[in-house]
C-alpha cells in the first residue's frame, strides 16, 4: 500500500514538474507583433490567441508538447516545447493562402484583414482554372457578385463582366469594371482583357464596392479588377512551357422540327423557307443543315516564359500563341503575344520597373447570324451552295427561281456556306501596353512613385464579297424596250434594281481604327508609426489620363474587272462618291482627357481597428462647358471584434471575427461632345446641303453622375481557420443618371443627353471557404460563392416610365421605374387583376394595346458558384459548378423559330385545337376559365402568340458544370530522376468545360447576350448567337 501511495505521489510530482505555463511573443511576417495569432497544443481542440502585443500564455502538459502557431496570411509554425518556458515565434508569410496580402487601389498592398471593403483575390492557378480562351469567361462562379455574359460560342464572341450590378442605365456609359495592370488602368472591358495571356498573371484582385475603388474615380465606379503580372524572382533562371489543345462542339441547340418543309398554312409554297408547309413526303430527303454547318472547334495554345534575377535585376519574359477555330466554318481567332517585364533596384531606396506587352491577333467572326441557318428548310441541302462556275446555287434555297420578281432575286437569301467559303473578311489587331514606374524612398517610410502607362491599339477590318450574279445579269427579268410604234425591239437591264444589283456584284470595305490611352500618376505614401499602438498612413496622388481614337471606313461596290481582283480599286467609281449605306466613306475622331487629385489617410490601432478616409477631385473634358471638376469622399472602418472582446481564442469553434463598414461616393462624367450643335452634310439629297444631324445627341446641361454606396461586412473564421466566411451587404444608389434618350422632336432635339433619375442596388455577397479534409496525402477543399443583387430604378423624371436600351423587334431592354434596372418591356396580353390572360368569347386572347409593358427582369435572383478540389498525393481533381436562380431571358431566337415554323416545340400543337389558358369576362366583374378551343394554325399563332412579346420571356435559371479538371503533377517524379534531369516540373491536366447544363430554358443557353453593350445592357437576350460550346482540353505544363 505504501508502495502504491509512493508511486501515486511520484506521478503527481512528475506531472506537476512537467505541466507548466509557456509564454512568448508571436511576430508577423513584417516583424510586427501579431495580434490574434492562434496558439494551441497540437491535437487539442482549444487554444489561446495573442494579444495586442503579440503575447500569449498557454499551459503545456509536458516537454513533449508541440505548440501550433497560426495566423491568417501566414504559414503555420510548430514548436516542440522541450524545457523552454518562453517561446517567441516569427510567422512567415504564406503567399498561397486565401487571406494573403492583396493589391488594392493605386497599387497599394495590404493584408486583407486590414481592408474594410469587399475584395476577392484569385491566384494564378485559380485564374487559369477552366482553361478558357478568355480567362474572364471562367470568372463566373469563382468570385461572388461577378456576372459574366458572353455572346456565344464563337472564338470572337464578346465577353462582358459586371461586378455586383450595373451603375449606369445610359446606353453610352459602360458598366464594366476598370481593368488595372500592374497599377495602371488600361483600355477596354471583358472582351479586350481576354487578349492578355493568363499565364502571365500572378494575382487578380476584384475590388467590388465604391469604397474599394474610390481612389480610381469614375472609372472605378463599376468596380476594379487589378491584375498583377508575374515578375522575375531572385535566383536561378526558370523556364516554363505550356501547351494546350482543345476540341469543342455545341452544348445545346434550339430544338428544331424535323417533319415539316417550307410553305404557309400547311401548304407547299414555292421558294419558302422555314417549316410552315406540309409534312415531308417519303421521297423527300432530310438534311440536318444546322448540324452539318456547326462542326467541331479546335483550339491550340502555347506559351513559354523565362524568369530570373538577382538582388539588383530581375526579369520575366513570355511569348504565347493561340489558334482557336470555332464550330462555324472559317470562324477563327489567332493570337500571339510577347510580354517582357524587368525590374531594376539600383539602391535600397529606388526601384524601377518597365514592362511591355505586345499582342497581335487575326480573326474572322460570325456575329449573330444563325437565323438563316435555323430557318433553312429541312428538305434542302444548305451545303450545296455553289455552282461549278463559282456562282451561288440559288436552287438549294429557291425551287422556283422563275417566279421571283427582280426585287426578290436581287435580295435573295444566300447559303451561309457561300459567304463563309467564298467571301473574305479579316480583322487584324495589334496592341502595345507599356508600363513603367519608378519608386523612390527618399526618407524612411516615405515612398514616392511615378508611373506611366501607354496602351495603344490598331485594328483594321477588311472584307470583300464576290459577285453573286453574272455580269450579264441574266438572272433577272429584263425590261422590254419599244420602238415608236409600240413594238418591242429588245430588252434592257431593269433600272429600278440597278443599285441593289451592283451591291451584289462584289463589295469591298476597309475600316481602320486606332485607340490609345496614356496615363501618368505621381503618388506619395508616408507611413507614420506614432507609437506602438497607433499608426497613420498618408497617401496622396495626382493623375492625368487621356484617350484618343479614330475610326475610318472606305467601301465600294460592283467590281468592274472580272476575276479575283477584289480591291477598292476595282469598284465602280459611280458609287465611291456616295457617303451612305454600308459601303461608305467616313472618318471619326474622339478624344477626351481628365485629371484627378486624390488622397487617403489610414489609421490603425494595434491592428485591431482600422479607419480610413479618401477624397478625390476629378476634372473631365467631357464636362468642360459645365463645371468640369467635382469632388467625392469615402470613409471606411473595421474592427476585429474577436480580439477586442477576447472571444474566439478560447474555443475551437470560433477563432476570428471582423466587422467592417464603409460609405463612399464616386463621381462619373459624361460622354464626350454633348454640348455643341451638330450639322451634317446630306450628301445624298438631290441638292446636298447641311442640316441638323439627328443621330448625335445633345445636352442642355449636365452634372456628374454620382454613386453613393454603403456596405457592411464581416470576416468570420471557425475551426482554426478551416472554415472562412466572408459576408457583405451593400446598398448603392446612383443619382443624376446620365442618359441619352429619345425626346420629343418638339423639344428641338431627337436625342438628348441629360441627368435623369436615380437607381439603387442592394445586395448580399457570401464567400465560404472550407478545408474539409486534410491528411498527409489527401486534402479536400471547397469554396462556395453566393450573391444576389436587387437593382431598382427608384425614379425617373415625371411621367417617364423607362429608359430604353436595345430593341429586338417589339422587345426592349429597359430600366423601368419602380422595377429592375435590367428589365424587359414589350407587348403583353390583357390581364385581369389576378394576372390571368383575358380571353374573348371566341377563345382568343386579348392583346394589350400598351407597347412597353414591363414583362421581365433579366437580373438573377441569385448567383451561385461551388468549386472544390480533391488532392491525393500528386493527383488532383477540381470542378466548378456555376448556377443561378431566376434572371429572365428573352428568347428572340426561339420566337423567330416559332414564327418560321421551325421550332420543334410547336409541332405537337400546330393545326390542332388548343385552348388558350386564361379567363373569360362574365361582364359582371367576374371571370370564368376559358374552355373554347381554337385551331392553332399559322395565322392564329402569328396573331395571338408571336405578336405578344411576353410569350417569349423565359426563366433563365441554370446549373452548369463549368469545368472539371483532372491533373497529375509529375514534379516529384522528376525530382527522383536526379539533378541531371533538366525538367523540374511536369504537370498534365485534362479539363472538360460545360459538361452539362441543367435548365428549363428552351433555347441553347440562358447565359447569353447578343453583344457587349452599355447601359441596361443586353445580357439575357438570346438573339441568334453561335451556341455555347462543350469542350475538352488537354494541357501540359513543363518547368525547367
Amino acid at each position: 500500500m505504501k508502495k502504491q501511495l509512493f508511486l501515486l505521489l511520484f506521478s503527481l510530482i512528475t506531472i506537476m514538474a512537467q505541466a507548466r505555463v509557456v509564454t512568448g511573443t508571436v511576430y508577423d511576417s513584417d516583424g510586427e507583433p501579431a495580434l490574434g495569432a492562434s496558439v494551441s497544443l497540437k491535437g487539442a481542440k482549444t487554444g489561446v490567441a495573442t494579444d495586442f502585443d503579440g503575447k500569449y500564455s498557454i499551459n503545456v502538459p509536458n516537454d513533449n508538447a508541440v505548440l501550433t502557431f497560426s495566423m491568417v496570411g501566414h504559414k503555420t509554425v510548430f514548436e516542440t516545447v522541450g524545457s523552454r518556458t518562453v517561446i517567441d515565434v516569427n510567422l512567415p508569410a504564406n503567399a498561397e493562402v486565401l487571406e494573403a496580402v492583396v493589391v488594392t487601389a493605386m497599387g497599394q498592398s495590404q493584408a486583407k484583414s486590414k481592408l474594410n471593403f469587399g475584395v476577392q483575390e484569385l491566384k494564378s492557378d485559380e485564374v487559369l482554372a477552366g482553361q478558357s480562351a478568355n480567362f474572364v469567361n471562367s470568372l463566373q462562379g469563382k468570385v461572388a457578385g461577378v456576372r459574366v455574359s458572353t455572346s456565344g460560342g464563337s472564338p470572337n464572341s464578346a465577353s462582358q463582366i459586371v461586378i455586383r450590378a450595373i451603375s449606369s442605365i445610359n446606353n453610352a456609359q459602360s458598366n464594366e469594371p476598370l481593368f488595372v495592370i500592374d497599377g495602371m488602368p488600361i483600355r477596354g472591358g471583358g472582351s479586350s482583357i481576354g487578349d492578355i495571356n493568363p499565364s502571365d498573371i500572378e494575382t487578380m484582385s476584384v475590388l467590388k464596392g465604391a469604397a474599394a475603388s474610390a481612389l480610381y474615380g469614375q472609372e472605378g465606379a463599376n468596380g476594379v479588377i487589378i491584375i498583377t503580372t508575374k515578375s522575375g524572382k531572385e535566383g536561378k533562371v526558370n523556364v516554363a512551357v505550356n501547351g494546350g489543345w482543345e476540341i469543342s462542339n455545341t452544348l445545346n441547340l434550339p430544338s428544331l422540327q424535323k417533319e415539316y418543309i417550307g410553305g404557309a398554312n400547311g401548304f407547299y409554297v414555292a421558294n419558302s423557307s422555314g417549316g410552315w408547309g406540309p409534312k415531308m413526303n417519303s421521297d423527300d430527303v432530310y438534311y440536318d443543315n444546322v448540324g452539318n454547318f456547326l462542326g467541331t472547334g479546335f483550339m491550340q495554345k502555347y506559351d513559354i516564359s523565362l524568369s530570373g534575377g538577382n538582388d539588383k535585376y530581375s526579369a520575366y519574359a513570355s511569348a504565347n500563341f493561340m489558334d482557336n477555330e470555332g464550330v462555324v466554318p472559317k470562324d477563327y481567332k489567332k493570337r500571339m503575344g510577347v510580354f517582357v517585364k524587368g525590374e531594376f533596384t539600383p539602391s535600397k531606396a529606388m526601384k524601377i520597373m518597365l514592362s511591355a506587352n505586345f499582342i497581335d491577333s487575326k480573326s474572322r467572326g460570325f456575329g449573330n447570324s444563325m437565323s438563316t441557318i435555323y430557318g433553312w428548310s429541312i428538305n434542302r441541302d444548305m451545303a450545296d451552295y455553289r455552282l461549278e462556275n463559282g456562282l451561288p446555287n440559288w436552287g438549294n434555297r429557291y425551287d422556283d427561281w422563275d417566279i421571283l420578281t427582280n426585287s426578290q432575286r436581287v435580295g435573295a437569301t444566300l447559303s451561309p456556306y457561300y459567304s463563309r467559303y467564298m467571301d473574305k473578311s479579316r480583322t487584324e489587331s495589334s496592341r502595345v501596353i507599356i508600363n513603367t514606374s519608378i519608386q523612390w524612398e527618399p526618407i524612411k517610410n516615405l515612398t514616392i512613385t511615378g508611373k506611366f502607362n501607354y496602351d495603344k491599339g490598331w485594328s483594321s477590318y477588311e472584307s470583300s464579297t464576290v459577285p453573286r450574279f453574272t455580269t450579264s445579269g441574266k438572272e433577272f427579268i429584263f425590261d422590254p424596250v419599244y420602238d415608236e410604234e409600240g413594238n418591242q425591239i429588245g430588252t434592257e437591264f431593269p433600272s429600278a434594281i440597278k443599285q441593289a444589283y451592283d451591291e451584289r456584284m462584289g463589295t469591298y470595305t476597309f475600316q481602320p481604327s486606332r485607340s490609345e490611352r496614356a496615363t501618368a500618376q505621381l503618388l506619395g505614401n508616408y507611413y507614420w508609426k506614432i507609437n506602438d499602438n497607433f499608426n497613420l498612413n498618408f497617401f496622396v496622388g495626382g493623375e492625368y489620363s487621356e484617350t484618343k481614337s479614330y475610326s475610318a471606313g472606305l467601301g465600294g461596290i460592283h467590281y468592274v474587272l472580272d476575276g479575283d481582283f477584289y480591291s477598292l480599286n476595282n469598284c465602280d467609281n459611280e458609287y465611291l462618291k456616295y457617303g451612305s449605306g454600308d459601303y461608305n466613306v467616313y472618318l471619326n475622331h474622339a478624344k477626351r482627357n481628365k485629371f484627378g487629385y486624390f488622397g487617403e489617410m489610414r489609421f490603425d490601432y494595434r491592428n485591431v481597428i482600422q479607419l480610413s478616409v479618401t477624397g478625390r477631385l476629378d476634372g473631365s473634358s467631357t464636362l468642360k462647358q459645365m463645371t468640369s471638376t467635382y469632388f467625392y469622399p469615402s470613409f471606411t472602418g473595421g474592427i476585429i471584434f474577436s480580439e477586442l472582446l477576447g472571444i474566439g481564442s478560447s474555443n475551437g469553434v470560433f477563432n476570428y471575427g471582423k466587422i467592417r463598414g464603409n460609405w463612399a461616393k464616386v463621381g462619373k462624367d459624361a460622354p464626350a461632345n454633348q454640348f455643341s450643335d451638330n450639322y451634317k452634310q446630306w450628301s445624298t439629297f438631290p441638292d446636298k446641303g447641311f442640316g441638323v444631324n439627328p443621330t448625335i445627341s445633345k445636352a442642355i446641361t449636365l452634372e456628374p453622375e454620382m454613386t453613393k454606396s454603403w456596405e457592411i461586412g464581416a470576416d468570420l473564421r471557425f475551426f482554426r481557420n478551416r472554415t472562412r466566411l466572408d459576408v457583405a451587404y451593400y446598398n448603392t444608389s446612383v443619382d443624376n443618371q446620365i442618359v441619352t434618350v429619345r425626346v420629343s422632336p418638339a423639344s428641338g432635339t431627337i436625342l438628348q443627353t441629360r441627368n435623369e433619375g436615380c437607381i439603387e442596388n442592394k445586395g448580399l455577397e457570401l464567400t465560404l471557404n472550407q478545408d474539409i479534409l486534410s491528411t498527409k496525402d489527401f486534402s479536400w477543399t471547397a469554396t462556395l460563392n453566393f450573391s444576389y443583387n436587387r437593382g431598382k430604378v427608384v425614379s425617373l423624371p415625371e411621367n417617364v416610365a423607362l429608359i430604353q436600351g436595345g430593341q429586338y423587334g417589339d422587345i426592349f431592354t429597359v430600366a423601368y421605374v419602380g422595377e429592375s434596372t435590367t428589365g424587359l418591356a414589350g407587348i403583353d396580353y390583357e390581364r385581369n387583376a389576378a394576372g390571368d390572360v383575358i380571353i374573348d368569347e371566341n377563345g382568343l386572347p386579348k392583346v394589350s394595346p400598351v407597347k412597353q409593358t414591363y414583362i421581365g427582369n433579366r437580373e438573377p435572383d441569385c448567383l451561385l458558384g461551388l468549386g472544390s478540389t480533391f488532392t491525393w498525393k500528386d493527383l488532383s481533381l477540381s470542378f466548378l459548378l456555376d448556377g443561378r436562380i431566376g434572371g429572365d431571358v428573352a428568347n428572340i431566337t426561339g420566337r423567330s423559330l416559332y414564327s418560321n415554323g421551325q421550332n420543334a416545340l410547336l409541332v405537337p400543337y400546330r393545326n390542332r385545337k388548343v385552348v388558350f389558358k386564361g379567363v373569360v369576362d362574365n361582364g359582371d366583374g367576374t371571370y370564368r376559365p376559358n374552355t373554347t378551343p381554337v385551331i392553332l394554325d399559322q395565322t392564329t399563332f402569328n396573331n395571338y402568340i408571336y405578336n405578344v412579346s411576353s410569350n417569349f420571356i423565359e426563366d433563365g435559371s441554370y446549373l452548369r458544370m463549368s469545368y472539371v479538371t483532372l491533373a497529375y503533377d509529375f514534379s516529384n517524379l522528376m525530382k527522383r530522376l536526379g539533378s541531371s534531369n533538366p525538367i523540374k516540373g511536369l504537370k498534365c491536366s485534362l479539363t472538360g468545360r460545360n459538361l452539362f447544363l441543367l435548365t428549363k430554358y428552351t433555347g441553347a443557353d440562358p447565359q447569353v447576350m447578343p453583344s457587349a453593350s452599355n447601359g441596361t445592357g443586353s445580357m439575357g437576350i438570346d438573339n441568334y448567337s453561335v451556341p455555347s460550346l462543350r469542350s475538352f482540353n488537354f494541357n501540359v505544363n513543363v518547368t525547367f
Binding site: Y578, H589, S676
Partner: protein, 624 residues
C-alpha cells in the same frame, strides 16, 4: 534637407503637371459641323418639304382605303395598312419631319436669314413651315406650336388655335389686307437678299412670287375645311373660290414652268440617281434613314376593291374578257387612268381557267390574299406621274386640287354645273398629268400615246393615239350614257360629269382619284365621315352617300375596333387621326396627352378632327 527639397519639388511638378481646367481638351467633335449657312440649309429644307408630303401620303393612301396588302394581320409594324393597331407602332415619321427636319432646320434657317439680312430665305422657310403645320395638325390634331422648342414638354395647342395661326400666317405670307404682319413685300423687296438659285431651291429657284402661290393654296385648303361640317355659307364658299383662284392665277402668271394649265404648280423634281436622289414613290424606294423614314413598299401593295371597282370602274374581275377601257360598243366605262396608274399582271402561271388570269386583280382592304396568290399576280404600282420613275416629282400642291376645291365650294353654293365643269377640267388634266409621265417614259415623235400592246386591251388595229383620244373623250363626255340602262350592261358606270345630275359623290370620287398618292385623299374621306352605303352617313340635305362601295377594312384589330361595338357602330367607327408617338410623347409629355385623353387610349384614334365633327357641332374652325 536636400531630400526634402527634392520631395517638395517633385510634388510641385506633379501638381503642376496635372493642373486644372486648362489642360482639358475642348469638348467638341471635330468631325461634325457646328454651324450652318442659309445657302446650304435651304436645299435641305426644300427637300424635306417634298418628303413631308410623301410621308403623309404614304400613310394616307392606305388609310383612305386606296391601297391595301396581301396580308390580313391585325397588328404589325405598319398599322396604317393592317388592323389599325397604332398604339404599338414605333414612331410616325410625320411628327418628326414637321418638328425636327422642317421645324428645327427651318427655325435655324430663319434665324440665319435674319442675321444675314436675306429675308427671301426666311420667306421660303415660313411657307414650307405653314404647309408642314397644316399637314401635321390634320394628321394629329392638337400639337405643340406656341411653346415648341421651349422645353422638353411643350404645351399642346388646340387644333383650332393652330388653324387660327395658320390662316393668319397665310395672310402674312400673301400680304392680304388685314394681315397682322405682312411679310411678302418685305421679303421680296429686301435689298440685302442673297440670290437663291435652282441648286438651293429646285422648286422655284428662289422666286418668291411663286412660293406665294403655295401660301394661297394652303389657305384655300384650310378654308375648305369649313365644308361640309363647320360653315357651308355662301360667303365662306365664295372666299374659298377666291382664294383658290389667287393661287391659280399666281401659278399661271409669269413664266409657267409646266405649261399653260399646270402653270407653275410647286413640284419637287427629282433627277434620279442614288438613294434620296430618286423620287420617293419610285421603285428604288428611297429611304432617308431606316429609323426616320418609310419606303413606299408599293412592291407589296395591292389596289383596293374600292379604288378599282368603285372609283376607277373596273368590273367583274372574274372575267377578264369584260375588263378594259371604256368601249362605246359594250358600254364598260372604265377610267383611262387605269393603264397609267397600273401595269396589269396575269394571274398564276399554272392557271388553267380565265378567272385566274385576271390582269387587274385587287383585294378588299386587309382581307388577305389566298395562299396561292403572289404579289406578282397583282398589278404593278410603279406607274403614274409620281411613282413611275426615279426622276418623277413630288408635288407640294396640284392644280387639280385647286380646281376641286373650287368645284366643291361651287357645289355647296348650289352651282352644280360649275362644279361639274371644274371637276371635269381637273379630271381631264389629271389624266394628262399621268399621261405626260407615260409619254416621257415612252416617247413618240408624234406626241401620241404609245401603249405596249400587251398592256392595252382590247387589242385593236387603230393607232394608239386615236384610240386613246376616243377613250378619254368618251370617259369625260359620258353624260349621254343612259342612267336607266341595267347594271348588267353598263357595269358600275358612273355619271361623273353630267351637269344636270351632278352629285357630291361624283365630285368627291373624282377628287379621290385625282388625289392618288396625295395626303388630301384621306382628309377628304374624313371630312365626309367615310360616308358609304354601309354606314349610311348621308351628307347634306339630301343625305347623299359620298363614297358608295367604301367599306371598313377586314381584320381590324379586334380589341380596338370590333369588341364592344354594335354592327352599326362599327360601320361608323373609323380611324380619324394618328396617335402621338409612344416613344417620345408618352414619355416626355404624358401630362399633355392625359389632359387631351390621348395617352394609351385607342379611342383617341377615333376622335375626329375639328373639321370632321358632325355638322353643327362647331361653328368656326378657329374658335375654341
Amino acid at each position: 534637407m536636400n531630400k526634402i527639397k527634392s520631395i517638395a519639388l517633385a510634388a510641385l511638378l506633379g501638381a503642376t503637371a496635372v493642373s486644372c481646367d486648362d489642360v482639358l481638351y475642348e469638348n467638341v467633335n471635330p468631325d461634325v459641323a457646328h454651324r450652318n449657312t442659309c445657302s446650304l440649309g435651304l436645299p435641305v429644307l426644300v427637300f424635306y418639304s417634298s418628303q413631308v408630303n410623301y410621308d403623309h401620303a404614304e400613310y394616307n393612301i392606305y388609310l383612305s382605303q386606296c391601297l391595301t396588302t396581301m396580308g390580313k394581320s391585325q397588328t404589325g409594324t405598319y398599322a396604317y395598312k393592317s388592323g389599325w393597331q397604332f398604339l404599338t407602332m414605333n414612331r410616325h415619321p410625320q411628327w418628326r419631319r414637321h418638328f425636327y427636319d422642317i421645324g428645327v432646320n427651318g427655325k435655324e434657317l430663319i434665324a440665319n436669314a435674319e442675321s444675314l439680312g436675306s429675308l427671301n430665305y426666311e420667306y421660303i422657310a415660313r411657307v414650307i413651315r405653314l404647309m408642314s403645320t397644316q399637314l401635321t395638325t390634320d394628321a394629329f390634331g392638337d400639337m405643340p406650336r406656341s411653346q415648341a422648342y421651349e422645353s422638353n414638354s411643350p404645351k399642346y395647342d388646340t387644333q383650332a388655335s393652330i388653324y387660327d395661326w395658320m390662316l393668319k400666317e397665310a395672310d402674312n405670307l400673301t400680304d392680304e389686307p388685314g394681315a397682322e404682319d405682312p411679310f411678302y413685300s418685305k421679303a421680296v423687296n429686301c435689298e440685302t437678299n442673297q440670290k437663291i438659285d435652282v441648286s438651293q431651291d429646285r422648286v422655284y429657284a428662289g422666286d418668291l412670287s411663286k412660293w406665294k402661290g403655295l401660301a394661297y393654296a394652303i389657305k384655300a385648303r384650310l378654308l375648305l375645311r369649313n365644308i361640309p361640317n363647320v360653315d357651308r355659307s355662301a360667303a365662306t364658299c365664295q372666299k374659298i373660290i377666291e382664294t383658290a383662284q389667287k393661287a391659280i392665277d399666281t401659278w399661271r402668271g409669269g413664266d409657267a414652268i409646266y405649261g399653260a394649265w399646270f402653270g407653275s404648280e410647286p413640284r419637287y423634281n427629282f433627277d434620279g440617281g442614288v438613294t434620296e436622289e430618286n423620287a420617293q414613290w419610285s421603285e428604288s424606294q428611297p429611304i432617308i434613314n431606316a429609323w426616320e423614314s418609310r419606303d413606299n413598299r408599293l412592291t407589296e401593295a395591292v389596289p383596293s376593291k374600292f379604288f378599282m371597282e368603285n372609283c376607277l370602274g373596273v368590273i367583274n374581275q372574274g372575267d377578264e374578257l369584260k375588263q378594259g377601257f371604256y368601249d362605246k360598243e359594250n358600254g364598260y366605262g372604265n377610267d383611262p387612268r387605269l393603264l397609267l396608274l397600273f401595269r396589269p399582271n396575269k394571274g398564276p402561271i399554272s392557271a388553267s381557267n380565265a378567272s385566274e388570269k385576271v390582269m387587274l386583280r385587287y383585294l378588299e382592304n386587309n382581307i388577305g390574299a389566298g395562299s396561292t396568290y403572289k404579289q406578282s399576280h397583282f398589278p404593278t404600282l410603279y406607274c403614274g406621274a409620281y411613282a413611275a420613275a426615279k426622276d418623277a416629282y413630288t408635288p407640294l400642291f396640284t392644280m387639280e386640287e385647286l380646281y376641286f376645291i373650287q368645284a366643291e365650294a361651287y357645289y355647296w353654293m348650289g352651282n352644280k354645273e360649275q362644279a361639274c365643269a371644274l371637276a371635269k377640267e381637273a379630271t381631264r388634266w389629271n389624266i394628262q398629268r399621268h399621261l405626260d409621265r407615260f409619254q416621257k417614259d415612252n416617247p413618240s415623235p408624234t406626241g401620241g400615246l404609245t401603249v405596249p400592246t400587251d398592256q392595252c386591251r382590247p387589242q385593236g388595229t387603230n393607232t394608239a393615239l386615236k384610240r386613246w383620244d376616243r377613250m378619254v373623250t368618251a370617259f369625260l363626255e359620258n353624260e349621254k350614257v343612259e342612267k336607266t340602262k341595267p347594271a348588267s350592261e353598263i357595269g358600275n358606270m358612273h355619271y361623273f360629269f353630267n351637269p344636270s345630275q351632278y352629285t357630291l359623290s361624283d365630285l368627291m370620287m373624282q377628287k379621290y382619284i385625282a388625289m392618288y398618292m396625295q395626303p388630301e385623299q384621306w382628309t377628304d374621306l374624313r371630312r365626309y365621315h367615310y360616308s358609304n352605303n354601309r354606314n349610311g352617313y348621308g351628307i347634306g340635305d339630301d343625305k347623299e352617300i359620298v363614297y358608295p362601295g367604301l367599306r371598313r377594312p377586314y381584320n381590324l384589330y379586334q380589341a380596338f375596333w370590333i369588341d364592344g361595338l354594335t354592327d352599326a357602330e362599327k360601320e361608323n367607327t373609323w380611324v380619324q387621326r394618328y396617335n402621338y408617338d409612344p416613344e417620345t410623347e408618352e414619355k416626355y409629355n404624358l401630362a399633355e396627352l392625359e389632359r387631351l385623353g390621348a395617352a394609351k387610349n385607342y379611342k383617341w384614334l377615333r376622335k375626329p378632327m375639328i373639321w370632321a365633327e358632325d355638322y353643327g357641332v362647331r361653328k368656326s374652325l378657329t374658335a375654341e
